[in-house]
Subunit: 281 residues, 2 copies
DNA sequence: CCGCGCGTAGAATAATTCTTCCAAATTCGG
DNA sequence: CCGAATTTGGAAGAATTATTCTACGCGCGG
Protein backbone atom coordinates (compact mmCIF):
# COMPACT_ATOMS: atom_id res chain seq x y z
CA UNK A 1 0.00 0.00 0.00
CA UNK A 2 2.66 2.43 0.88
CA UNK A 3 4.06 3.84 -2.30
CA UNK A 4 5.84 6.33 -0.17
CA UNK A 5 2.74 8.44 0.20
CA UNK A 6 2.65 9.68 3.69
CA UNK A 7 0.70 12.58 2.31
CA UNK A 8 -0.99 14.50 5.02
CA UNK A 9 -4.67 14.88 4.47
CA UNK A 10 -5.35 18.38 3.20
CA UNK A 11 -7.52 20.26 5.61
CA UNK A 12 -8.37 22.91 3.12
CA UNK A 13 -10.78 22.26 0.30
CA UNK A 14 -8.84 24.04 -2.38
CA UNK A 15 -5.73 22.02 -1.70
CA UNK A 16 -7.71 18.81 -1.70
CA UNK A 17 -9.32 19.73 -4.95
CA UNK A 18 -5.96 20.30 -6.57
CA UNK A 19 -4.68 17.03 -5.24
CA UNK A 20 -7.63 15.12 -6.59
CA UNK A 21 -7.26 16.67 -10.01
CA UNK A 22 -3.60 15.87 -10.01
CA UNK A 23 -3.94 12.25 -9.11
CA UNK A 24 -7.12 11.57 -10.98
CA UNK A 25 -5.47 9.69 -13.86
CA UNK A 26 -3.53 7.27 -11.78
CA UNK A 27 -6.51 6.22 -9.67
CA UNK A 28 -8.24 2.88 -10.17
CA UNK A 29 -11.57 2.90 -11.89
CA UNK A 30 -13.94 3.12 -8.95
CA UNK A 31 -11.83 5.60 -7.10
CA UNK A 32 -11.67 7.77 -10.20
CA UNK A 33 -15.43 7.56 -10.33
CA UNK A 34 -15.60 8.86 -6.78
CA UNK A 35 -13.12 11.59 -7.62
CA UNK A 36 -15.24 12.80 -10.50
CA UNK A 37 -18.37 12.73 -8.40
CA UNK A 38 -16.73 14.54 -5.55
CA UNK A 39 -15.60 17.41 -7.73
CA UNK A 40 -18.90 17.63 -9.54
CA UNK A 41 -21.14 17.46 -6.51
CA UNK A 42 -19.23 18.76 -3.55
CA UNK A 43 -22.45 19.70 -1.78
CA UNK A 44 -23.63 16.15 -1.95
CA UNK A 45 -20.49 15.00 -0.22
CA UNK A 46 -20.84 17.67 2.41
CA UNK A 47 -24.34 16.75 3.41
CA UNK A 48 -25.00 13.16 2.42
CA UNK A 49 -24.35 10.03 4.36
CA UNK A 50 -21.82 7.55 3.12
CA UNK A 51 -24.63 5.34 1.92
CA UNK A 52 -26.53 8.05 0.05
CA UNK A 53 -23.40 9.37 -1.60
CA UNK A 54 -22.34 5.89 -2.57
CA UNK A 55 -25.72 5.37 -4.13
CA UNK A 56 -25.54 8.61 -6.07
CA UNK A 57 -22.04 7.93 -7.30
CA UNK A 58 -22.90 4.34 -8.00
CA UNK A 59 -20.20 2.77 -5.86
CA UNK A 60 -20.07 0.95 -2.57
CA UNK A 61 -19.78 2.82 0.70
CA UNK A 62 -16.55 1.06 1.36
CA UNK A 63 -15.15 2.58 -1.81
CA UNK A 64 -15.70 6.00 -0.29
CA UNK A 65 -13.71 5.00 2.70
CA UNK A 66 -10.90 3.67 0.56
CA UNK A 67 -10.99 6.84 -1.49
CA UNK A 68 -10.65 8.93 1.61
CA UNK A 69 -7.81 6.85 2.90
CA UNK A 70 -6.05 7.09 -0.44
CA UNK A 71 -5.87 10.81 0.15
CA UNK A 72 -4.51 10.47 3.61
CA UNK A 73 -7.69 10.81 5.60
CA UNK A 74 -8.51 8.64 8.50
CA UNK A 75 -11.83 7.63 7.05
CA UNK A 76 -14.71 9.03 5.10
CA UNK A 77 -15.86 11.25 7.91
CA UNK A 78 -12.58 13.12 7.94
CA UNK A 79 -12.86 13.84 4.27
CA UNK A 80 -16.41 14.96 4.67
CA UNK A 81 -15.33 17.48 7.25
CA UNK A 82 -13.25 19.26 4.63
CA UNK A 83 -16.21 19.47 2.29
CA UNK A 84 -18.32 20.87 5.05
CA UNK A 85 -15.79 23.42 6.09
CA UNK A 86 -15.86 24.72 2.55
CA UNK A 87 -19.56 25.45 2.78
CA UNK A 88 -19.19 27.03 6.15
CA UNK A 89 -16.76 29.60 5.00
CA UNK A 90 -18.44 30.51 1.83
CA UNK A 91 -15.87 32.88 0.63
CA UNK A 92 -12.90 30.68 0.37
CA UNK A 93 -10.46 33.14 -1.05
CA UNK A 94 -10.66 35.55 1.84
CA UNK A 95 -10.75 32.71 4.23
CA UNK A 96 -7.53 31.39 2.80
CA UNK A 97 -5.86 34.68 3.26
CA UNK A 98 -6.99 34.78 6.83
CA UNK A 99 -5.72 31.28 7.43
CA UNK A 100 -2.41 32.17 5.87
CA UNK A 101 -2.11 35.20 8.04
CA UNK A 102 -3.05 33.44 11.20
CA UNK A 103 -1.12 30.25 10.75
CA UNK A 104 1.64 32.09 8.96
CA UNK A 105 4.76 31.29 10.88
CA UNK A 106 6.27 33.57 8.30
CA UNK A 107 5.09 35.75 11.15
CA UNK A 108 4.16 39.03 9.60
CA UNK A 109 4.46 40.93 12.80
CA UNK A 110 1.60 40.57 15.22
CA UNK A 111 -0.18 43.76 14.43
CA UNK A 112 -0.17 43.16 10.68
CA UNK A 113 -1.82 39.82 11.27
CA UNK A 114 -4.50 41.55 13.28
CA UNK A 115 -5.16 43.93 10.43
CA UNK A 116 -5.37 40.97 8.06
CA UNK A 117 -7.88 39.28 10.28
CA UNK A 118 -10.08 42.30 10.41
CA UNK A 119 -9.95 42.67 6.67
CA UNK A 120 -10.96 39.06 6.24
CA UNK A 121 -13.72 39.42 8.80
CA UNK A 122 -14.98 42.50 7.02
CA UNK A 123 -15.09 40.66 3.73
CA UNK A 124 -17.09 37.92 5.32
CA UNK A 125 -19.47 40.38 6.87
CA UNK A 126 -20.05 42.01 3.53
CA UNK A 127 -20.75 38.71 1.86
CA UNK A 128 -23.18 37.93 4.56
CA UNK A 129 -24.79 41.32 4.16
CA UNK A 130 -25.30 40.67 0.48
CA UNK A 131 -27.07 37.40 1.03
CA UNK A 132 -28.96 38.22 4.19
CA UNK A 133 -30.73 41.39 3.15
CA UNK A 134 -33.98 40.91 1.36
CA UNK A 135 -34.18 43.45 -1.48
CA UNK A 136 -37.87 43.91 -0.98
CA UNK A 137 -37.52 44.81 2.62
CA UNK A 138 -34.69 47.12 1.80
CA UNK A 139 -36.89 48.79 -0.74
CA UNK A 140 -39.68 49.13 1.73
CA UNK A 141 -37.37 50.56 4.38
CA UNK A 142 -36.16 53.05 1.84
CA UNK A 143 -39.66 54.17 1.03
CA UNK A 144 -40.63 54.44 4.67
CA UNK A 145 -37.70 56.65 5.50
CA UNK A 146 -37.86 58.63 2.29
CA UNK A 147 -41.38 59.74 3.03
CA UNK A 148 -40.52 60.98 6.50
CA UNK A 149 -40.26 64.66 7.18
CA UNK A 150 -37.46 64.16 9.64
CA UNK A 151 -35.51 60.99 10.19
CA UNK A 152 -34.60 60.29 13.79
CA UNK A 153 -31.44 58.29 14.30
CA UNK A 154 -31.30 56.24 17.46
CA UNK A 155 -28.12 54.50 18.53
CA UNK A 156 -25.75 54.11 21.48
CA UNK A 157 -22.29 52.80 22.19
CA UNK A 158 -21.04 50.58 19.44
CA UNK A 159 -23.75 51.56 17.02
CA UNK A 160 -23.39 55.25 17.64
CA UNK A 161 -20.73 55.81 14.98
CA UNK A 162 -23.12 54.47 12.38
CA UNK A 163 -25.71 57.00 13.40
CA UNK A 164 -23.20 59.86 13.26
CA UNK A 165 -22.16 58.76 9.84
CA UNK A 166 -25.71 58.61 8.62
CA UNK A 167 -26.33 62.01 10.11
CA UNK A 168 -23.42 63.33 8.10
CA UNK A 169 -24.45 61.60 4.90
CA UNK A 170 -28.09 62.61 5.19
CA UNK A 171 -27.18 66.23 5.81
CA UNK A 172 -25.01 66.22 2.75
CA UNK A 173 -27.93 64.84 0.83
CA UNK A 174 -30.16 67.59 2.18
CA UNK A 175 -32.33 65.24 4.13
CA UNK A 176 -33.42 66.41 7.53
CA UNK A 177 -32.40 64.22 10.37
CA UNK A 178 -32.02 64.32 14.09
CA UNK A 179 -29.59 62.19 16.01
CA UNK A 180 -30.38 60.80 19.45
CA UNK A 181 -27.65 59.57 21.69
CA UNK A 182 -25.64 62.62 22.57
CA UNK A 183 -26.48 64.37 25.80
CA UNK A 184 -28.81 61.95 27.52
CA UNK A 185 -31.16 64.48 28.97
CA UNK A 186 -32.05 66.23 25.76
CA UNK A 187 -32.73 63.17 23.64
CA UNK A 188 -36.05 62.29 25.08
CA UNK A 189 -37.29 65.83 24.73
CA UNK A 190 -36.27 65.93 21.12
CA UNK A 191 -37.91 62.63 20.42
CA UNK A 192 -41.04 63.80 22.20
CA UNK A 193 -41.46 66.37 19.48
CA UNK A 194 -41.42 63.78 16.76
CA UNK A 195 -44.70 63.69 14.93
CA UNK A 196 -46.35 60.92 12.90
CA UNK A 197 -44.97 62.39 9.70
CA UNK A 198 -41.49 61.45 10.87
CA UNK A 199 -39.73 58.11 10.92
CA UNK A 200 -36.85 56.63 12.84
CA UNK A 201 -33.86 54.48 12.09
CA UNK A 202 -32.59 52.58 15.11
CA UNK A 203 -29.44 50.54 15.44
CA UNK A 204 -28.61 48.23 18.27
CA UNK A 205 -26.40 45.19 18.62
CA UNK A 206 -25.72 42.40 20.99
CA UNK A 207 -26.14 43.66 24.51
CA UNK A 208 -28.84 46.07 23.53
CA UNK A 209 -28.56 49.51 25.04
CA UNK A 210 -31.71 50.02 27.08
CA UNK A 211 -32.10 53.65 26.02
CA UNK A 212 -32.19 52.68 22.37
CA UNK A 213 -34.89 50.13 22.98
CA UNK A 214 -36.87 52.46 25.18
CA UNK A 215 -36.74 55.32 22.72
CA UNK A 216 -37.56 53.15 19.75
CA UNK A 217 -40.57 51.58 21.38
CA UNK A 218 -41.77 54.93 22.66
CA UNK A 219 -41.78 56.24 19.13
CA UNK A 220 -43.39 53.10 17.82
CA UNK A 221 -46.16 53.43 20.39
CA UNK A 222 -46.94 56.83 18.97
CA UNK A 223 -47.35 55.42 15.52
CA UNK A 224 -44.03 56.52 14.14
CA UNK A 225 -42.58 53.94 11.76
CA UNK A 226 -39.28 52.41 12.84
CA UNK A 227 -36.66 50.89 10.60
CA UNK A 228 -34.00 49.05 12.51
CA UNK A 229 -30.68 47.32 12.11
CA UNK A 230 -29.81 44.68 14.64
CA UNK A 231 -27.98 41.41 14.97
CA UNK A 232 -30.62 38.94 15.90
CA UNK A 233 -34.20 38.23 15.07
CA UNK A 234 -34.74 38.07 18.81
CA UNK A 235 -33.51 41.54 19.39
CA UNK A 236 -36.00 43.61 21.34
CA UNK A 237 -35.63 46.15 18.55
CA UNK A 238 -37.13 43.80 16.02
CA UNK A 239 -40.34 43.66 17.98
CA UNK A 240 -41.22 47.28 17.73
CA UNK A 241 -39.99 47.86 14.21
CA UNK A 242 -41.93 48.31 11.04
CA UNK A 243 -39.04 46.89 9.04
CA UNK A 244 -35.93 45.40 10.51
CA UNK A 245 -32.70 43.95 9.20
CA UNK A 246 -30.50 41.35 10.74
CA UNK A 247 -26.82 41.90 10.18
CA UNK A 248 -24.17 39.86 11.91
CA UNK A 249 -20.68 41.27 11.70
CA UNK A 250 -17.97 38.66 11.58
CA UNK A 251 -15.41 39.04 14.30
CA UNK A 252 -11.75 38.61 15.04
CA UNK A 253 -11.27 37.19 18.49
CA UNK A 254 -14.59 38.62 19.56
CA UNK A 255 -13.94 42.12 18.31
CA UNK A 256 -16.25 43.26 15.57
CA UNK A 257 -15.68 46.09 13.22
CA UNK A 258 -18.56 47.95 11.65
CA UNK A 259 -17.58 47.54 8.04
CA UNK A 260 -20.73 45.91 6.80
CA UNK A 261 -22.96 48.15 8.91
CA UNK A 262 -21.28 51.16 7.37
CA UNK A 263 -21.86 49.90 3.88
CA UNK A 264 -25.46 49.26 4.80
CA UNK A 265 -25.91 52.68 6.33
CA UNK A 266 -24.43 54.45 3.37
CA UNK A 267 -26.49 52.46 0.92
CA UNK A 268 -29.61 53.27 2.87
CA UNK A 269 -28.82 56.96 2.95
CA UNK A 270 -28.20 57.14 -0.76
CA UNK A 271 -31.22 54.98 -1.54
CA UNK A 272 -33.40 57.33 0.49
CA UNK A 273 -32.06 60.29 -1.42
CA UNK A 274 -32.70 58.54 -4.73
CA UNK A 275 -36.21 57.70 -3.70
CA UNK A 276 -36.93 61.26 -2.74
CA UNK A 277 -35.54 62.59 -5.95
CA UNK A 278 -37.68 60.15 -7.88
CA UNK A 279 -40.95 60.86 -6.12
CA UNK A 280 -40.65 64.56 -5.54
CA UNK A 281 -39.63 65.63 -9.04
CA UNK B 1 -49.32 16.62 23.57
CA UNK B 2 -51.71 17.68 20.90
CA UNK B 3 -52.87 21.14 21.54
CA UNK B 4 -54.58 21.11 18.25
CA UNK B 5 -51.37 21.77 16.41
CA UNK B 6 -51.31 19.52 13.44
CA UNK B 7 -49.05 22.07 11.84
CA UNK B 8 -47.20 20.62 8.94
CA UNK B 9 -43.47 20.90 9.28
CA UNK B 10 -42.26 23.69 7.00
CA UNK B 11 -40.06 22.34 4.24
CA UNK B 12 -38.51 25.64 3.45
CA UNK B 13 -36.24 27.58 5.71
CA UNK B 14 -37.86 30.95 5.32
CA UNK B 15 -41.21 29.64 6.34
CA UNK B 16 -39.71 27.87 9.30
CA UNK B 17 -37.92 31.00 10.34
CA UNK B 18 -41.11 32.99 10.26
CA UNK B 19 -42.88 30.35 12.23
CA UNK B 20 -40.20 30.32 14.88
CA UNK B 21 -40.30 34.09 15.19
CA UNK B 22 -44.03 34.03 15.47
CA UNK B 23 -44.20 31.44 18.17
CA UNK B 24 -41.14 32.31 20.16
CA UNK B 25 -43.04 34.10 22.89
CA UNK B 26 -45.23 31.18 23.74
CA UNK B 27 -42.38 28.71 23.90
CA UNK B 28 -41.06 27.43 27.20
CA UNK B 29 -37.69 28.59 28.37
CA UNK B 30 -35.44 25.91 26.97
CA UNK B 31 -37.25 25.71 23.70
CA UNK B 32 -36.99 29.47 23.35
CA UNK B 33 -33.29 29.10 24.00
CA UNK B 34 -33.07 26.64 21.14
CA UNK B 35 -35.11 28.95 18.95
CA UNK B 36 -32.73 31.83 19.53
CA UNK B 37 -29.73 29.66 18.91
CA UNK B 38 -31.19 28.20 15.76
CA UNK B 39 -31.86 31.56 14.19
CA UNK B 40 -28.59 33.04 15.31
CA UNK B 41 -26.42 30.11 14.26
CA UNK B 42 -28.22 28.33 11.46
CA UNK B 43 -24.97 26.98 10.08
CA UNK B 44 -24.26 25.25 13.32
CA UNK B 45 -27.56 23.45 13.13
CA UNK B 46 -26.95 22.46 9.56
CA UNK B 47 -23.59 20.87 10.24
CA UNK B 48 -23.45 19.82 13.84
CA UNK B 49 -24.63 16.68 15.50
CA UNK B 50 -27.43 16.80 17.99
CA UNK B 51 -24.91 16.48 20.78
CA UNK B 52 -22.59 19.23 19.57
CA UNK B 53 -25.43 21.63 18.94
CA UNK B 54 -26.96 20.86 22.29
CA UNK B 55 -23.62 21.63 23.87
CA UNK B 56 -23.29 24.92 22.04
CA UNK B 57 -26.81 25.98 22.87
CA UNK B 58 -26.45 24.76 26.42
CA UNK B 59 -29.41 22.41 26.42
CA UNK B 60 -29.93 18.68 26.39
CA UNK B 61 -30.04 16.79 23.09
CA UNK B 62 -33.53 15.69 23.92
CA UNK B 63 -34.58 19.31 24.02
CA UNK B 64 -33.59 19.62 20.41
CA UNK B 65 -35.84 16.74 19.54
CA UNK B 66 -38.69 18.24 21.48
CA UNK B 67 -38.14 21.55 19.79
CA UNK B 68 -38.27 19.89 16.40
CA UNK B 69 -41.41 18.04 17.26
CA UNK B 70 -43.01 21.21 18.55
CA UNK B 71 -42.69 22.54 15.01
CA UNK B 72 -44.20 19.51 13.46
CA UNK B 73 -41.08 17.61 12.52
CA UNK B 74 -40.68 13.96 13.06
CA UNK B 75 -37.48 14.42 14.98
CA UNK B 76 -34.35 16.49 15.05
CA UNK B 77 -33.01 15.03 11.85
CA UNK B 78 -36.00 16.22 9.88
CA UNK B 79 -35.50 19.74 11.12
CA UNK B 80 -31.83 19.60 10.33
CA UNK B 81 -32.65 18.72 6.75
CA UNK B 82 -34.36 22.06 6.33
CA UNK B 83 -31.33 23.90 7.62
CA UNK B 84 -29.12 21.97 5.27
CA UNK B 85 -31.30 22.60 2.28
CA UNK B 86 -31.02 26.28 2.95
CA UNK B 87 -27.24 26.18 2.86
CA UNK B 88 -27.29 24.19 -0.29
CA UNK B 89 -29.50 26.63 -2.10
CA UNK B 90 -27.72 29.62 -0.87
CA UNK B 91 -24.40 28.24 -1.82
CA UNK B 92 -25.38 27.35 -5.32
CA UNK B 93 -26.81 30.73 -6.09
CA UNK B 94 -24.07 32.54 -4.28
CA UNK B 95 -21.70 32.86 -7.21
CA UNK B 96 -24.54 34.11 -9.33
CA UNK B 97 -25.52 36.79 -6.92
CA UNK B 98 -22.00 37.97 -6.45
CA UNK B 99 -21.57 38.16 -10.20
CA UNK B 100 -24.73 40.20 -10.47
CA UNK B 101 -23.54 42.56 -7.83
CA UNK B 102 -20.14 43.08 -9.33
CA UNK B 103 -21.31 43.45 -12.87
CA UNK B 104 -22.69 46.68 -11.52
CA UNK B 105 -25.99 48.23 -12.37
CA UNK B 106 -27.44 45.01 -13.71
CA UNK B 107 -30.96 44.01 -12.83
CA UNK B 108 -32.15 44.25 -9.24
CA UNK B 109 -34.59 46.92 -8.24
CA UNK B 110 -33.41 50.43 -7.54
CA UNK B 111 -32.52 50.50 -3.89
CA UNK B 112 -31.24 46.94 -3.81
CA UNK B 113 -28.89 47.80 -6.61
CA UNK B 114 -27.53 50.66 -4.56
CA UNK B 115 -26.88 48.34 -1.67
CA UNK B 116 -25.15 45.94 -4.03
CA UNK B 117 -22.92 48.67 -5.35
CA UNK B 118 -21.89 49.71 -1.89
CA UNK B 119 -21.09 46.17 -0.97
CA UNK B 120 -18.98 45.77 -4.07
CA UNK B 121 -17.26 49.07 -3.38
CA UNK B 122 -16.56 48.02 0.18
CA UNK B 123 -14.99 44.79 -1.04
CA UNK B 124 -12.74 46.73 -3.34
CA UNK B 125 -11.78 49.10 -0.56
CA UNK B 126 -10.84 46.23 1.69
CA UNK B 127 -8.75 44.61 -1.00
CA UNK B 128 -7.02 47.87 -1.49
CA UNK B 129 -6.49 48.24 2.23
CA UNK B 130 -4.84 44.85 2.38
CA UNK B 131 -2.32 45.65 -0.28
CA UNK B 132 -1.73 49.31 0.44
CA UNK B 133 -0.83 49.11 4.10
CA UNK B 134 2.78 48.41 4.83
CA UNK B 135 2.97 45.99 7.75
CA UNK B 136 6.07 47.64 9.11
CA UNK B 137 4.46 51.01 9.27
CA UNK B 138 1.39 49.54 10.83
CA UNK B 139 3.58 47.94 13.43
CA UNK B 140 5.35 51.18 14.10
CA UNK B 141 2.07 53.07 14.38
CA UNK B 142 0.89 50.47 16.84
CA UNK B 143 3.95 50.87 18.99
CA UNK B 144 3.76 54.65 18.91
CA UNK B 145 0.16 54.69 20.06
CA UNK B 146 0.58 51.85 22.51
CA UNK B 147 3.23 53.74 24.40
CA UNK B 148 1.10 56.85 24.74
CA UNK B 149 -0.45 57.70 28.07
CA UNK B 150 -3.52 59.12 26.41
CA UNK B 151 -4.47 58.81 22.80
CA UNK B 152 -6.08 61.88 21.28
CA UNK B 153 -8.46 61.22 18.46
CA UNK B 154 -8.83 64.01 15.95
CA UNK B 155 -11.47 63.92 13.27
CA UNK B 156 -14.32 65.94 11.75
CA UNK B 157 -17.26 65.41 9.46
CA UNK B 158 -16.96 62.30 7.44
CA UNK B 159 -14.11 60.91 9.53
CA UNK B 160 -15.76 61.66 12.82
CA UNK B 161 -17.61 58.35 13.09
CA UNK B 162 -14.31 56.54 12.88
CA UNK B 163 -13.03 58.50 15.82
CA UNK B 164 -16.14 57.81 17.87
CA UNK B 165 -15.82 54.16 17.11
CA UNK B 166 -12.20 54.09 18.14
CA UNK B 167 -13.10 55.94 21.28
CA UNK B 168 -15.61 53.25 22.06
CA UNK B 169 -13.25 50.41 21.24
CA UNK B 170 -10.33 51.88 23.15
CA UNK B 171 -12.46 52.45 26.22
CA UNK B 172 -13.59 48.87 26.10
CA UNK B 173 -9.97 47.86 25.93
CA UNK B 174 -9.19 50.03 28.94
CA UNK B 175 -7.00 52.39 26.99
CA UNK B 176 -7.29 56.03 27.81
CA UNK B 177 -8.34 58.25 24.97
CA UNK B 178 -9.73 61.67 24.35
CA UNK B 179 -11.83 62.57 21.37
CA UNK B 180 -11.63 65.96 19.69
CA UNK B 181 -14.37 67.16 17.43
CA UNK B 182 -17.35 67.55 19.66
CA UNK B 183 -18.06 71.02 20.95
CA UNK B 184 -15.68 73.15 18.98
CA UNK B 185 -14.72 75.50 21.71
CA UNK B 186 -13.52 72.95 24.19
CA UNK B 187 -11.39 70.88 21.88
CA UNK B 188 -8.48 73.21 21.66
CA UNK B 189 -8.34 73.57 25.41
CA UNK B 190 -8.30 69.84 25.87
CA UNK B 191 -5.60 69.40 23.29
CA UNK B 192 -3.59 72.15 24.93
CA UNK B 193 -3.26 69.92 27.96
CA UNK B 194 -1.76 67.11 25.96
CA UNK B 195 1.76 66.38 27.07
CA UNK B 196 4.64 64.73 25.24
CA UNK B 197 3.83 61.38 26.79
CA UNK B 198 0.64 61.35 24.75
CA UNK B 199 0.07 60.59 21.10
CA UNK B 200 -2.61 61.39 18.59
CA UNK B 201 -4.46 59.61 15.85
CA UNK B 202 -5.84 61.93 13.22
CA UNK B 203 -8.17 61.10 10.37
CA UNK B 204 -9.01 63.35 7.48
CA UNK B 205 -10.11 62.76 3.95
CA UNK B 206 -10.53 64.59 0.73
CA UNK B 207 -11.52 68.16 1.45
CA UNK B 208 -9.57 68.23 4.64
CA UNK B 209 -11.31 69.82 7.56
CA UNK B 210 -9.18 72.80 8.57
CA UNK B 211 -9.66 72.19 12.29
CA UNK B 212 -8.26 68.70 12.02
CA UNK B 213 -5.17 69.91 10.22
CA UNK B 214 -4.71 72.79 12.61
CA UNK B 215 -5.02 70.66 15.70
CA UNK B 216 -2.78 67.94 14.37
CA UNK B 217 -0.03 70.29 13.42
CA UNK B 218 -0.30 72.13 16.71
CA UNK B 219 0.26 68.89 18.55
CA UNK B 220 3.07 67.92 16.22
CA UNK B 221 4.78 71.21 16.87
CA UNK B 222 4.84 70.39 20.55
CA UNK B 223 6.59 67.12 19.88
CA UNK B 224 3.60 64.86 20.24
CA UNK B 225 3.71 61.96 17.81
CA UNK B 226 0.89 61.84 15.29
CA UNK B 227 -0.40 58.77 13.49
CA UNK B 228 -2.75 59.60 10.70
CA UNK B 229 -5.12 58.08 8.23
CA UNK B 230 -5.79 60.01 5.07
CA UNK B 231 -6.50 59.52 1.41
CA UNK B 232 -3.53 61.02 -0.33
CA UNK B 233 0.18 61.29 0.12
CA UNK B 234 -0.26 64.97 -0.52
CA UNK B 235 -2.68 65.45 2.28
CA UNK B 236 -1.65 68.20 4.65
CA UNK B 237 -2.04 65.65 7.41
CA UNK B 238 0.77 63.53 6.04
CA UNK B 239 3.20 66.39 6.43
CA UNK B 240 2.93 66.72 10.14
CA UNK B 241 2.60 63.03 10.95
CA UNK B 242 5.08 60.63 12.43
CA UNK B 243 3.44 57.74 10.61
CA UNK B 244 0.68 58.04 8.10
CA UNK B 245 -1.45 55.71 6.05
CA UNK B 246 -3.06 56.26 2.73
CA UNK B 247 -6.43 54.66 2.35
CA UNK B 248 -8.71 55.27 -0.59
CA UNK B 249 -12.27 54.13 -0.17
CA UNK B 250 -13.91 52.98 -3.37
CA UNK B 251 -17.12 54.78 -4.13
CA UNK B 252 -20.53 54.33 -5.64
CA UNK B 253 -21.45 57.33 -7.71
CA UNK B 254 -19.18 59.49 -5.65
CA UNK B 255 -20.48 58.38 -2.29
CA UNK B 256 -17.99 56.59 -0.14
CA UNK B 257 -18.74 54.36 2.79
CA UNK B 258 -16.28 53.90 5.59
CA UNK B 259 -16.04 50.15 5.53
CA UNK B 260 -12.33 49.85 5.04
CA UNK B 261 -11.57 52.68 7.43
CA UNK B 262 -13.62 50.94 10.09
CA UNK B 263 -11.73 47.72 9.63
CA UNK B 264 -8.50 49.65 9.85
CA UNK B 265 -9.57 51.51 12.97
CA UNK B 266 -10.66 48.38 14.73
CA UNK B 267 -7.50 46.55 13.82
CA UNK B 268 -5.44 49.43 15.10
CA UNK B 269 -7.32 49.55 18.37
CA UNK B 270 -6.91 45.84 18.98
CA UNK B 271 -3.29 45.89 17.88
CA UNK B 272 -2.59 48.65 20.36
CA UNK B 273 -4.20 46.67 23.13
CA UNK B 274 -2.19 43.59 22.17
CA UNK B 275 1.01 45.56 22.13
CA UNK B 276 0.31 47.00 25.55
CA UNK B 277 -0.49 43.64 26.97
CA UNK B 278 2.72 42.26 25.52
CA UNK B 279 5.02 44.98 26.79
CA UNK B 280 3.47 45.72 30.14
CA UNK B 281 3.18 42.18 31.44
C1' DC C 1 -2.98 -21.91 -19.81
C1' DC C 2 -2.12 -20.97 -15.05
C1' DG C 3 -0.95 -18.40 -11.00
C1' DC C 4 -0.27 -13.93 -8.87
C1' DG C 5 -1.65 -9.47 -7.28
C1' DC C 6 -4.49 -5.61 -7.16
C1' DG C 7 -9.05 -3.77 -6.81
C1' DT C 8 -13.87 -4.44 -5.62
C1' DA C 9 -18.34 -5.89 -3.60
C1' DG C 10 -20.89 -7.07 0.06
C1' DA C 11 -21.85 -8.45 4.53
C1' DA C 12 -20.48 -8.28 9.42
C1' DT C 13 -18.97 -5.36 12.99
C1' DA C 14 -18.10 -1.31 15.55
C1' DA C 15 -19.07 3.28 16.44
C1' DT C 16 -21.78 7.13 16.49
C1' DT C 17 -25.98 9.45 16.63
C1' DC C 18 -30.84 10.05 17.35
C1' DT C 19 -34.87 9.09 19.89
C1' DT C 20 -37.72 7.59 23.62
C1' DC C 21 -39.01 7.34 28.21
C1' DC C 22 -39.56 8.41 33.06
C1' DA C 23 -38.54 10.70 37.26
C1' DA C 24 -37.52 15.22 39.05
C1' DA C 25 -38.28 20.03 38.87
C1' DT C 26 -40.82 23.92 37.75
C1' DT C 27 -44.73 26.71 36.77
C1' DC C 28 -49.40 28.04 37.10
C1' DG C 29 -54.05 28.17 38.93
C1' DG C 30 -56.99 27.56 42.74
C1' DC D 1 -49.84 27.01 50.26
C1' DC D 2 -51.07 22.99 47.76
C1' DG D 3 -52.04 20.08 43.63
C1' DA D 4 -52.15 19.46 38.62
C1' DA D 5 -50.09 20.10 34.42
C1' DT D 6 -46.19 21.13 31.86
C1' DT D 7 -41.42 21.25 31.17
C1' DT D 8 -36.86 19.55 31.85
C1' DG D 9 -32.71 16.54 32.54
C1' DG D 10 -30.56 12.38 32.01
C1' DA D 11 -29.83 7.84 30.75
C1' DA D 12 -31.09 3.61 28.31
C1' DG D 13 -32.10 1.77 23.96
C1' DA D 14 -33.09 1.90 19.00
C1' DA D 15 -31.63 3.16 14.66
C1' DT D 16 -28.51 4.74 11.57
C1' DT D 17 -24.02 5.17 9.84
C1' DA D 18 -19.08 4.35 9.14
C1' DT D 19 -15.56 1.03 8.98
C1' DT D 20 -13.37 -3.37 8.63
C1' DC D 21 -12.86 -7.78 6.77
C1' DT D 22 -13.07 -11.64 3.66
C1' DA D 23 -13.90 -13.72 -0.52
C1' DC D 24 -14.39 -13.06 -5.33
C1' DG D 25 -13.30 -11.24 -10.05
C1' DC D 26 -10.41 -9.34 -13.31
C1' DG D 27 -6.24 -8.46 -15.78
C1' DC D 28 -1.43 -9.30 -16.48
C1' DG D 29 2.84 -11.67 -16.97
C1' DG D 30 5.11 -15.95 -16.88
Amino acid sequence: MDRGEILAAPKNFEVLRELILERRRELPKRLAQVAAFALDHPDEIAFGTAASIAGAADVQPSTLVRFSQAFGFDGFSALQTVFRARLRERNSSYEDRLAELESGDAAPAGSAAILGSFIAAAHRSLDNLGTAIDPKRFESATITLASARTIHLIARRRSYPIATYMAYALSQLKIRCQIAGTASGIDDDLLAMADPGDAAFAISFSSYAPETIAQASALAARGIPIVSLTDSAFSPLAECSTVWFELVEADHAGFRSLSASMAFAMALAVAIAEERRRTQN
